[in-house]
Symmetry: C2
Subunit: 210 residues, 2 copies
DNA sequence: TAGATTGTTAATCGATTAACAATC
DNA sequence: TAGATTGTTAATCGATTAACAATC
């Protein structure tokens, strides 16, 4: 386990590994990089190299000890503490994210949603929705660090600026636009429309090939 | 405009360009790659190279003609015809995708959702939800080609197999797992939990840096 | 031992960036 | 003309893969 710069791609593969290793039956003691690679459709050398970066090492002939590997990856990803977050833009996507319970496992605790539409009070599962005007005060009081932006494209930059003014350090951006932020703010873009377009184009290419 | 293999990364940047160019005021006649790059936080040479692949070319000193560029990118992405799709797994994420209206712009027309839970009848906006048992017949009758998979991890591979058996060619997979599919089926993975983890790790790295 | 595996070093590949010529 | 821009060719960079030595 070396401590150097970790490429983002690797960072995104780690949860996949973790998820896979955890999904193995309890009885599994050992798991080799080769097996994992085959199951996940990746190169075995890449898996081995990735694991070398985060784990305390495997055993020749046996592979990695399942339990240790889980502990190592979890330790590396350091997910124990939940980070509080808010969702800005309580449209369909925003409400879905508010209500989705799965993010807790990845260390995200979404406290509330914010929207321009003041008639919204809470999501169907009861998460509160406040007017955007209350954002700054709420974020400062609760020391919120992460904002999930799910507003329409046109409002995204302004919303982002507002969030940063409210003290946010990290933005998970679902608007299909590049946000300009100060150097110390981290942005992760999620562009579903672009993914979808890529899928359709691949489908079309496949078609032409046959 | 050359016709060769188009890397997926470029494919995912094109909608971003298109979106940006479309967002410019009507009065804008020309737009240079340099301007676009600055606005989008990308390298200008990359933008120019990307555009060279899909457009009929710009004019020295002026840049690209806005209208032509829109037409070229749209023409290249070829989004006119909507592809019909189904969502399998009508949990929160599934319902959000079912109800989200924005995918039409990217050429996706989601007809219906499917779920194991037979008590679900339709989403809050009225999209129908059918039992999974009806999937195959529905897909074949409507010539569905794209399945959006939003079931829990454990059920994802089985669901995917089912969809392929029903004649699907393309899978938009939201389950954090690698799906095994025949060679002629296209898969686009969307792993929100992994993105989120990457965001949190970057935030942490940022912290240590200051 | 023989076979399976790790982990490292070198090679390859692909994508991004730099440099620059062309030209309006 | 001078400046801004395109578009191409070469260089760089980073990530993946191949080859292989080590070893249990």
């Amino acid at each position: 386990m070396e401590s150097e710069r970790i490429p983002k791609k690797l960072l995104m593969r780690l949860p996949v590994y973790l998820n896979y290793v955890k999904s193995l039956p309890e009885s599994t003691q050992n798991i080799s990089a080769t097996q994992m690679a085959k199951a996940l459709g990746l190169g075995d050398v890449m898996v081995r190299k990735d694991l070398a970066k985060v784990s305390s090492g495997g055993r020749r002939k046996l592979g990695y000890i399942r339990e240790n590997l889980i502990a190592d990856i979890e330790g590396f990803l350091d997910v124990p503490v939940c980070t509080d977050a808010v969702v800005i833009g309580a449209g369909r996507m925003g409400q879905a994210l508010l209500d989705y319970e799965g993010f807790g496992k990845s260390g995200l605790n979404i406290l509330a949603g914010f929207d321009l539409n003041e008639t919204l009070q809470h999501t169907s599962s009861g998460k509160p929705i406040y007017p955007v005007a209350a954002l700054k005060e709420f974020c400062q009081r609760n020391h919120i660090r992460i904002a999930v932006i799910t507003v329409p494209v046109g409002a995204a930059q302004a919303t982002c600026d507002l969030a940063i003014e409210a003290g946010i350090d990290a933005v998970w951006n679902f608007a299909p636009i590049h946000l300009r932020v100060p150097g110390d703010v981290v942005v992760q873009n999620e562009n579903l429309a672009a993914s979808l377009t890529a899928l359709r184009m691949q489908l079309q290419a496949e078609e032409r090939r046959t």
